[in-house]
Symmetry: D2
Subunit: 92 residues, 4 copies
């Protein structure tokens, strides 16, 4: 099932700048077979629901392994059965 998603990761305890961690997040998202649109407050993804959830788990685990003590994520997901959801189709 295809989903559209908006993902935001917030590393806590890494100081005020979290630019390095966010670059890693986007790198891991881009490594998968998604349509990706980064924006100033998060990253939009179009892809298989299970793949999107898999990358969320992978990012939590990777950020911890690389030293971040506390990781918050905010995830918005959308699925629908009347048509295939796309990021492009959600643009007004």
């Amino acid at each position: 099932m295809i989903a559209t998603a908006d993902i935001q990761f917030v590393p806590i305890g890494s100081g005020v700048s979290v630019r390095k961690e966010i670059s890693r997040v986007i790198e891991m998202i881009n490594a998968r077979d998604f349509i990706v649109q980064s924006h100033a407050m998060g990253t939009n993804i179009e892809g298989e629901l299970h793949e999107i959830l898999a990358v969320v788990a992978q990012i939590h685990e990777a950020l911890h392994r690389e030293g971040t003590v506390r990781v918050l994520s905010n995830l918005k997901l959308e699925t629908r059965t009347d048509k295939i959801p796309t990021l492009a189709g959600k643009k007004l």
Copy 2:
């Protein structure tokens, strides 16, 4: 890896009342091996990160199968490596 989570599901196109769908969401969450605390605006979960993500996918799929055309979910996740995160430990 244990995570704490706050999950909210929003069925779209089912009319103004979504009580029936939300009951199903909580039923599916309760069927798993989680610590669960429902609140007025969502459901808090403490459990394995992969299990939490699995129930999110399951709920999207089940609501569609049972007739909801469009399903939004909002998911907040938190993991940490300095201690085991618990819902109880987050109470002030």
Copy 3:
């Protein structure tokens, strides 16, 4: 105080398509003195914190006045004191 924000409105009970309501939301945001970047899952805003909160209230009230029975909004806000936050500065 300048803030960056990500706003998403979800009209409930208006049917599966909410395109008309979302157009109104963006119209009301654009009518103010903000830097605005719409994306597939919401709208990013850079502007005065109080103005951003004012437009959120205005949109809830306007959508109801125009017939939407139930209105959900998701708002992410960010402020900081070490520099002026900008949407442009958050791009990697």
Copy 4:
């Protein structure tokens, strides 16, 4: 217009523990004329929409004044015209 809300504040750059800042957040919410239900992942509020938005601005400003460099907030709001929304009425 009465709204129900779920508010979460995330101080960034204050270290891994944010307990002190979250106590202040709840103190400021409790000082107002709201119905308040704190939960493990945030605080639910029932009250006037404009008052809820006012306390959000107040908290951002107060946390900065008291030393937090970067403040994120996540706010979910709900309003409806078919009945007065209450936290109690949203319990299943």
